[in-house]
Amino acid sequence: MGQEDKRITDVGVPNYEDYLPPIIKDNYGKWLYHEVIKPGVLLHVAESGDKLYSVRVGSPRLLSTDTIRDFANLAEKYCGGFLRFTTRNNIEFLLTDENNIDLLTKEINEMGFPVGGIDNTIGNVIHTQGWLHCHTSASDASGVVKAIMDELYDYFVNPLLPAKIRMAFACCINMCGSVATSDIALVAVHRKLPEINDEKLRNLCEIPTVVASCPVHAIRVVKRDDKTSVEIDKKLCFYCGNCYTVCPAMPLSDKNYDGLAIFVGGKISNTRTKPTFAKLAVPFLHNNPPRWPEVVDAVKTIVKAYKNGAQKGERVGEWIDRIGWPRFFEITGFEFTKYHIDDFRLSEATLNYSNHSTL
């Protein structure tokens, strides 16, 4: 036990009080109101009259240690060493001196980072690991996001939209991250039957678990070469990869069959309308690295249509609700296919049980 004693475990969650700037400690729970004073800069005024300026910086989320150190230096220079990250992976510098805002912004920009993402902007794109780190990915994450944000950079930096657009990317249908309820959601999908490796299956997988993993019960136990294996009903399989998640013997990645689907009109906040999932706009676009031009185009088409069509304050989904899905497809030129008609478990709840339709 000797050495063991020194081993530290279960220290738990850090005490945030050690990380709060004095102005926040002083005014904790006593904020009065806020204002966006310029693109990317929030002012929060406390009951005490204290003023806190938050400068929001866009981030690729994947950060090198040296970049972290650079941020630390800036925090020290301008904010007494305090900063925070946001729930969408932006960095927020917490200033008390209004005069520092422009100086800080200048240095940030020189580092190659944008200030923005507040108000009616396209916020930072929540995304996942992709080819960089995940074994089930059907596309890269950082690459697609980079390609899109290079083109939509101005929308991050300036509030050019009728309301916020929150975009997210998931590299497989496990949908890590805040994807399903985004204004624009990109989801990488496979489109190929898993390839069963009998040998591996027998060594690495529990067959009952494999069978149970399939949402549509497409997996059956069979004998092959006199040994137990499984078979997939190709009439049922929709390439979700759940079986692969529980069993490495059933990979389904493929250059030609993997790609992306685009969903639109989700929303998570309770403001006005209830939170709601994004809905399918484009069923499939091929992976086309390094810049995924078809994907970038489709996203730009949506942003443009939204910008032109929505009324002030309308989120993407609220805009589409008002004009109707038929018009959305008409305006964007996206083809409406049978894939858009849900056919999974709760599909019955998605049909138009009325005569309401634009003609």
Partner: protein
């Protein structure tokens, strides 16, 4: 660096948005293994598929979670990423840091891993990328020494997270950061030693705006709310009235149509207000949540696996979390324990709590954990006549 040709990734160094490739390169300039990360990623861009192997158990002693193992499928070509694991490190609630701590974290990441982070992972952990099993223990202990611990992975309580709440937001109806820390620490064992059928997530948002997306991303979503009347400052309303059309942008957008703005007077029939936050968010200087503050609990949100995606449904429309704070969140932790006991008793492997309670029947579930049925749990009551009456009560009874 330079070891691998990366023409496709090089393309992604161009453009205005900060480049993740530059970040990897910056790390690679100090870390041999991260050079191979770049190489393997370029190969993925060429081959059009992931090159990571499925699975592999990695971890630190005494914990069943906190490390996600990642092995290359092409280690011959890229020996540096033969192992390139990630650690999920419990972040500071509200994601606050000091420059000092950031530097220490950077030093640890350089020393034991590949020199890159995700700040943060989608669950809210600090993610340190690129270490080997051999380094895991030292990495862990170095973190522990500066007061950081591993978070959840696998069938564990996943690292809870919180919005900035009372630290900077005027709308926070309870202390999200405090609740997040206390409750996580209370359930630390469930974070570190996976006891469940599948993952369980908790997120804390200070008001119904839900800046942590808890309603979509956490099995249990804790969202602040108030019970009494919205506070109105008529003078400030008058100021807003000069700058935009209050009828159009506020009154007509109220989901419960309970606002009126007549002859300069702004009134809310709070009995009908569904606490959507729209009016408040549109006129933050004039309107504020009331004084009787608490929280709502939503249950069952999750991603598509297995039975399709779910949002959280409203399990409890109001509970006095501010009073519970004084009691060490005992109401909350008791309730969570009851939910977990129920899960334990009725659940099955890889079934999230949302799927289980759906299968079991929401009404039955509420009965079992001792929450009274209330109409806010549904958008609307049942439309079919297939009612499963419990017992066959005699008329004479």
């Amino acid at each position: 660096m330079g070891k691998h040709k990366t023409p496709q990734l090089d393309e992604l160094k161009k453009g205005k948005w900060p480049s993740f490739v530059r970040e990897i390169e910056r790390a690679a300039s100090k870390s041999e293994r991260t050079v191979d990360l770049l190489g393997q990623l370029e190969k993925s861009y060429e081959d059009g598929i992931t090159l990571w192997k499925h699975g592999g158990m990695v971890g630190v002693r005494g914990y069943g979670s906190g490390v996600v193992g990642r092995f290359s499928d092409v280690p011959e070509e890229f020996p540096g990423v033969q192992e390139y694991h990630t650690a999920r490190v419990l972040s500071v609630p509200g994601f606050f840091y000091t420059s000092d701590t950031l530097r220490k974290l950077a030093d640890i990441c350089d020393k034991y891993a590949g020199g890159i982070f995700n700040f943060h992972g989608s669950t809210g952990d600090i993610q340190i990328l690129g270490f080997t099993q051999a380094e895991a223990e030292d990495l862990f202990q170095s973190l522990a020494k500066i007061g950081f611990d591993l978070g959840g992975s696998g069938s564990a309580l996943r690292s809870p997270s919180a919005c900035v709440g009372q630290a900077r937001c005027e709308w926070a109806c309870y202390d999200t950061m405090h609740a997040c820390r206390e409750i996580t620490n209370y359930f630390l064992d469930e974070v570190h030693r996976p006891p469940f059928y599948y993952k369980f997530k908790i997120k804390f948002s200070g008001c119904p705006i839900d800046c942590t997306s808890s309603g979509a991303r956490s099995d249990l979503s804790v969202i602040g709310v108030w019970k009494d009347n919205i506070k109105i400052d008529q003078e400030k309303i008058a100021e807003y009235a000069n700058t935009f059309d209050i009828i159009k942008y506020v009154v007509n957008k109220c989901p419960s149509k309970c606002i009126s703005f007549k002859e300069g007077k702004f009134t809310i029939n709070d009995k009908f207000c569904v606490k959507c936050m729209h009016c408040i968010a549109t006129m933050p200087r004039a309107l504020k949540p009331g004084d009787v503050k608490g929280a709502q609990l939503r249950l069952g949100a999750k991603a598509p696996v297995v039975d399709g995606p779910r949002l959280g449904f409203l399990l409890l429309p109001f509970y006095d979390i501010n009073k519970d704070k004084e009691d060490g969140y005992s109401y909350f932790t008791d309730l969570v324990q009851r939910i977990w006991d129920f899960w334990d008793e009725h659940g099955k492997n890889r079934e999230r709590i949302g799927e289980l309670v759906q299968r079991f029947g929401i009404g039955n579930f509420m009965e079992e954990i001792g929450i009274e049925p209330h109409p806010a749990v549904v958008s609307y009551p049942r439309t079919n006549p297939y009612i499963k009456f419990d017992n066959q009560i005699d008329k004479e009874e």
